[in-house]
């Protein structure tokens, strides 16, 4: 069912190809063209939203590798993003390193911190691991808030990103930077799932004892999953730092971590398209709610105490997460594949 009628795999290269049909190719190229010409027909405001979506997508892909493929539940993702963001900020602001060094450094440092907090995953799983990552989130944020080098509660300024003298100052230039890195990450994640490492992750997710018996090195692969997941978080954090230009630990709250888990669940765990759907869905919804609905409610219901409508956003997000878990646990990606197969078979039902 994964291929349209009449498409056959005659050799290994065809079997492994990501783009298999002409329609496929046309659609992907069309999508890329639309994305890369987006600054022409969107205002700066929407480009900002897209930038946020791109950054969130990178982090969500990392979390999807960790939770969706490897099955190691992490509820401290915002903490790891914070590590990346602050590493980039310190490297570029305090030590005046170039942007690319900061970017890679952020990924590596975040990945290493991820490995440290991922160590208990060797012995425990499920709820225990969730609690460990929650603790990690709080410890990281506390250290950031109290360590003088990170700027503490006052926050820290981050210069614009720049590569070889070109400074990414405008919203559209940052859009290209972010979207290219995000596209590379999507491509990497898509391919990772089809390699030996990806298959090992899936085996560990399905049953880690069985995987160990079959000769998969649990310690190595679990920590690798933590490293990759947190590396992506670090990259996302660095981009976020350069995009916002100012960091404060409040941007990386525990609720943000929950939202990341919600995103990959709404999108579909353990699928390559899932994070994209989830991130776009949540971020657009968030934008509509906070920018359109909340001020509207605030101004039209003045008899309630001020600020009441800010509660709408978490309420709706919580509801969406619960409803998706109950009604569509496989997420939007599953709906999409259902739609695809129905489209291919039309007008027959099967």
């Amino acid at each position: 069912m994964s291929l349209p009628c009449g498409t056959r795999n005659h050799n290994y290269a065809e079997d492994m190809a990501i783009v298999r049909t002409k329609t496929h190719r046309v659609l992907i190229i069309g999508l890329l063209v639309i994305i890369f010409t987006a600054p022409l027909y969107f205002s700066n405001y929407w480009l900002g939203v897209f930038n946020l979506i791109g950054i969130t997508l990178i982090a969500a892909i990392g979390l999807n590798i960790l939770v969706g493929y490897c099955g190691q539940l992490s509820i401290g993702h915002a903490g790891f993003i914070a590590v990346g963001a602050y590493t980039a900020a310190i490297l570029t602001n305090r030590l005046e390193m170039p942007f690319l060094v900061g970017l890679i450094g952020a990924g590596v440092v975040s990945g290493l911190i991820g490995i440290i907090f991922g160590l208990p995953s060797v012995r425990v799983k499920g709820f225990y691991l969730a609690i460990t990552t929650i603790a990690a989130q709080f410890i990281i944020i506390w250290v950031i808030n109290h360590w003088g080098y990170t700027g503490g509660f006052l926050g820290i300024k981050v210069p614009y990103a720049s590569i070889g003298g070109f400074v990414f100052r405008s919203e559209s230039s940052q859009f290209y930077l972010i979207i290219i890195i995000a596209a590379l990450c999507v491509f990497f994640a898509k391919n990772l799932a089809r390699t030996k490492v990806g298959r090992a992750f899936i085996a560990i997710r399905d049953n880690d004892l069985a995987a160990e018996v079959m000769g998969i090195n649990l310690l190595y692969y679990k920590l690798l999953a933590f490293f990759i997941g947190c590396f992506f978080a670090g990259i996302a954090g660095a981009l976020l730092a350069h995009w916002i230009g100012f960091l404060n630990a409040e941007q990386f709250s525990f609720t943000e971590s929950i939202l990341y888990v919600g995103m990959i669940i709404i999108g579909g765990l353990g699928t390559s398209l899932g994070p994209i759907f989830g991130v776009v869905f949540i971020r657009i919804l968030q934008q509509l709610l906070t920018v359109e609905l909340v001020p509207f409610l605030e101004s039209s219901f003045t008899m309630f105490p001020s600020g009441f409508a800010t509660g709408i956003t978490p309420m709706l997000f919580g509801l969406v997460i619960v409803l998706f878990l109950i009604l569509e646990p496989r997420g939007l990606a599953h709906r999409w594949s259902l739609f695809k197969s129905a489209y291919r078979l039309w007008p027959f039902s099967y």
Binding site: P120, F127, W142, P305, F308, G311, T313, L319, I321
Partner: protein, 294 residues
């Protein structure tokens, strides 16, 4: 010396509240193996509800408190019936994230109804301070310890003598066997949720009577997890013993380490304990170590 005694008593009393909240977690975990990560939000919303009853509706304490208990029971029933019952026998990942979703939802409800986010509960306990030896302690701490002990005794008696309590223990032991005996397991689940919310609400009222109602209570709910982890996930006795230990570590550490480390070290101690326990003895002091088979 006076300082030490003060730290010990405040530590034990805050730790007792942690233990109470942790009991709410253990109850649900034992009967249905659902990890309730929405504890902090349940604590917060019941504190706010108490605030509404006492300060906004101006009811006397003896009417307001039963209403709060009823509210907590209702909250537990709603959560179990509408969010967790459809997810029975789902993987642990969904069970954990669904409680996160519930927590998020409750947080939104709190902001929606009480948007000013910080307030103080009306005084529940007498104002006079108590002198124990050289130490001066406000009376609340002693009352909190007493009330927590009473709740512990009541819960223990319930599990020992009441039919439902025995059914709940049996469900924790072997769900299949219980079903075969004709005990309605779903009702056991919903009772355990109702009880869990109830003890969490009592804990919330007690701790907010000491420190006021803030969003910090969400963290209190999370700190209760360190009690659960240290005591063992499926052990009532573990929670009751680990609670004061965590409370003591927090208040002694906060009292004596702050000059050497950064300020606010108090808030992080329970989380550090979680990591340490995870590395050394992940199943806690009294938890049952599960031996897994393929």
């Amino acid at each position: 010396m006076a300082e030490l005694l003060q730290f010990v008593i405040t530590g034990i009393s805050v730790g007792m509240v942690y233990a109470l909240i942790a009991l709410g977690f253990v109850l649900v975990w034992k009967s249905s193996s659902v990890a309730n990560l929405a504890l902090g939000q349940i604590v917060l919303i019941s504190s706010w509800f108490t605030y509404s009853m006492l300060a906004q509706a101006e009811l006397p304490v003896y009417i307001a408190f039963p209403i709060v208990i009823l509210f907590a029971l209702f909250l537990g029933w709603v959560i179990e019936r509408f969010a967790l019952r459809p997810l029975i026998a789902q993987p642990i990942l969904s069970l954990i994230t669904v409680t996160l979703g519930i927590g998020y939802f409750i947080e939104g409800v709190i902001t929606f109804i009480w948007p000013w986010s910080v307030d103080a509960l009306p005084r529940l306990f007498p104002k006079e301070v108590i002198h124990i030896g050289p130490a001066v302690i406000s009376q609340e701490y002693v009352w909190v310890i007493v009330i927590c002990l009473v709740v512990f005794v009541l819960l223990t008696a319930f599990f020992r003598y009441h039919r439902m309590g025995i059914a709940m223990r049996a469900t924790a032991d072997d769900q299949m066997a219980v079903q075969a005996c004709g005990i309605p397991v779903t009702r056991v689940f919903s009772t355990s949720w109702m009880f869990a919310c109830c003890v969490a609400a009592i804990g919330g009222v007690l701790i907010s009577s000491i420190g006021g109602i803030t969003h910090g209570l969400l963290e209190t709910g999370l700190k209760a997890f360190s009690v659960v982890i240290l005591g063992g996930l499926d052990s009532f006795a573990g929670a009751i013993i680990a609670g004061p230990i965590i409370g003591l570590c927090e208040s002694l550490g906060g009292g004596y380490l702050t000059p050497y480390l950064w300020a606010g070290v108090k808030d992080i101690i329970p989380f550090v304990i979680i990591i340490i326990v995870m590395v050394i003895k992940p199943y806690g002091l009294f938890g049952e170590e599960r031996i897994e088979r393929i």
